[in-house]
């Protein structure tokens, strides 16, 4: 799919929405408004936005946990308000304020998630099976980090998907670290995409700071999956700017992450890169940039206001939530 002006601006806007919402949650956390923890996604927004901006509404998505899914679920159609409200512990949150951080929005193919890293793989295989049984051309995007790729669940799920030709695109957001663990000490090859070989599926490496590159690689894999040709693995090389979770030390093993490394990656900020590109190509003017910034900030303000003004859940619902009637 060749992108027109409208689509390009949508991508840009989604990048900005993910970034500004993330920044706001970080701030809110520091102000004591966020009731749970938070894993910022700043720096890697091009992965989720590039992957998820042109999916079908009925495609299934397991977002990666950075930004607690923001860069993935906003482009997929989920509400920023509901995401923020969940983090503020409100009844209007995505999970009704019961989870504190899980994104769920079945109408947009987002069925929720788990708290153990690597648990996305088996359940995504299940969605792939559901999609295949439905036979309506749906695909599944299962997103995860470099560290997540160490879990054995990935092996079982990729194998099942490959042998049953399930319509799944495995998307790895390789930001070089898993909590404090550098991926170079956790995996023996340069590219996680090389795992694909063992499952007879395409393994592709892309620049995760380049939203168009991500979009193109994912689109090709999505097409393949929709056409019944089975799963693919796409690795996006990227970075996170902030520490693993808000409040945790910014370290590799037990030493600070190298300042030069952080600086070098910030020079390749996905929003900056894409903005420069769009300005250069004449797709955006500086006036557009300012307008979009304002619009996005308005959405973020509104989302925070909505969250703050929403009530906490009524605890009496809890026992009723245990089972579906």
């Amino acid at each position: 799919m060749k992108l027109g002006k409208k689509e390009l601006i949508m991508l840009y806007t989604n990048l900005l929405r993910a970034r500004r919402a993330d920044e706001r949650i970080v701030k809110a956390l520091q102000e004591g408004k966020v009731v749970s923890f938070y894993h910022s996604g700043q720096g890697s927004e091009a992965v989720g936005v590039g992957a998820c901006s042109f999916l079908r509404n009925d495609d299934y998505l397991y977002p990666h946990h950075r930004g607690h899914g923001l860069a993935y679920i906003l482009p997929k159609g989920a509400s920023m308000k509901a995401h923020m409200a969940e983090h503020f512990g409100r009844a209007t949150g995505m999970a009704g304020g019961v989870a504190g951080f899980h994104g769920v929005d079945p109408e947009h193919g987002i069925f929720g998630g788990g708290g153990t890293i690597g648990s996305q793989f088996p359940v995504s295989a299940g969605w792939g099976l559901g999609a295949k049984k439905n036979n309506r051309g749906q695909v599944v995007l299962c997103c995860f980090g470099d560290g997540s790729s160490n879990r054995g669940t990935l092996h079982e799920a990729m194998n099942l998907a490959a042998v049953w030709k399930l319509p799944i695109v495995w998307i790895c957001e390789n930001n070089l670290y898993a909590q404090f663990m550098p991926i170079k000490d956790a995996y023996p090859r340069e590219d996680i995409a090389d795992l694909a070989h063992g499952y007879n599926m395409p393994g592709v490496v892309v620049d995760g700071q380049d939203v168009i590159a991500v979009h193109e690689a994912v689109s090709a894999a999505v097409e393949r999956a929709r056409n019944g040709a089975g799963p693919s693995l796409i690795e996006c090389k990227t970075y996170r700017y902030r520490s693993h979770s808000e409040g945790s030390a910014d370290i590799a093993h037990a030493e600070p992450r190298p300042a030069e490394e952080i600086e070098a990656w910030k020079k390749r900020d996905p929003i900056k890169l894409f903005q420069e590109h769009l300005l250069k190509e004449g797709i955006l003017t500086t006036a557009d940039v300012e307008r979009i910034e304002k619009e996005v900030m308005a959405e973020v303000d509104e989302a925070e206001k909505f969250a703050l003004e929403s009530p906490r859940p009524d605890p009496s619902i809890l026992p009723k939530l245990l089972y579906q009637e």
Binding site: S119, G126, L129, G130, Q324
Partner: protein, 321 residues
């Protein structure tokens, strides 16, 4: 009434419900063949898309069922030996059980988690467990432990219509046991204990295979001690009321279950009785369960698992007090 073996009753329930609801499918290792014959023959009738042999991968058996359940299907995840559920523990105990609740009820996960339990085959501690207590301990999972063919069928049909995850444990030693199974359609509701035999001196609450032992012992004691045998049939939901009623009558209680004693099913039932009927108790409750040891293999198995002798001794002990 028609008598068929327990495992055939299970097989029948699958066939009937799969015919009734085309969203039901069975997924697991070797389910087309059916290691214990519970699913044997279904692939002929329903095809390999509804009776799906998987790779040897417990996490995706559980995960595939969990995922597909959200897409509108009603999967049966067959773990062959229930012990193998430990290879998918995160998927079962931290995901399947909690998914509906933690997402504010916004997604439904109708699944049957199916596993064969129990000792008696002398195949060691990883093919003989009755992992009931860990399941019952986990909020969000219903738990069915049928002790006879009729219950096995009626409860499985109910499980296959429940919009929640239901763990269904069927016992190795019951597979071939014939039992009354009505012709035609019937279901048995969850949470209704069955008084398998009435009595007035001692209440024996027993689960799964232990029910058969309890009935045999009760018969043996006829004329000496009048034993009431109560089978909860489902542990979650749990019919404490029927049990309390029996305890109020007898005042003396033995609880028999094949899972490990410590933090097991027997202690939990005892505690619930203490909470609801403390003043009716004429003697401390006796529990009969597996010793606090791994289940040894070979000839040593019998020294770890509970049997009729243990039930007998416990009944005699409470009766004396």
């Amino acid at each position: 009434m028609r008598q068929i073996p327990y495992v055939m009753a299970i097989n029948e329930a699958f066939a009937e419900e799969m015919a009734r609801n085309d969203k039901i499918f069975i997924i697991g290792e070797d389910v087309q063949a059916g290691t214990f014959r519970a699913t044997t023959g279904l692939v002929k009738r329903f095809g390999p898309d509804r009776v799906m042999d998987t790779p040897l991968s417990e996490t995706v058996v559980a995960g595939a069922a969990l995922g597909a359940s959200m897409c509108g299907y009603h999967p049966v995840a067959d773990f062959m030996f229930a012990d193998f559920m430990w290879c998918a523990a995160d998927e079962i105990f931290l995901k399947t059980a909690k998914w509906h609740f933690i997402h504010g009820g916004k997604v439904q996960v109708p699944i049957v988690l199916f596993g064969n339990i129990g000792g008696g085959a002398r195949v060691g501690p990883e093919h003989s467990q009755c992992p009931e207590s860990v399941v019952w301990h986990t909020p969000g999972l219903k738990l069915v432990v049928p002790s006879c063919a009729g219950d096995a069928k009626g409860l499985l049909k109910t499980a296959l219509r429940d919009p929640n995850p239901v763990v269904y444990f069927y016992h190795k030693r019951l597979l071939g046991l014939p039992g009354d199974v009505p012709d035609g359609e019937y279901t048995i509701p969850f949470g209704v204990a069955d008084v398998k035999k009435e009595g007035k001196d001692v209440t024996v609450i027993a689960t799964s295979y232990m029910v058969q032992h309890a009935l045999a012992v009760a018969k043996e004691l006829e004329g000496k001690i009048s034993v009431e045998v109560v089978d909860p049939r489902t542990l979650e939901p749990f019919d404490i009321d029927t049990i309390v009623k029996s305890v109020q009558k007898t005042g003396r209680v033995v609880i028999a279950d094949e899972d490990t004693k410590r933090c097991g099913v027997t202690g939990e039932i005892a505690m619930q009785i203490m909470e609801k009927a403390f003043d009716s108790l004429d003697a401390p409750i006796q529990r009969v369960a597996a010793a606090n040891l791994p289940i040894a293999g070979g000839y040593m198995e019998q020294y770890v698992l509970p049997g009729p002798k243990d039930i007998l001794a416990a009944i005699e002990a409470v009766a004396k007090k």
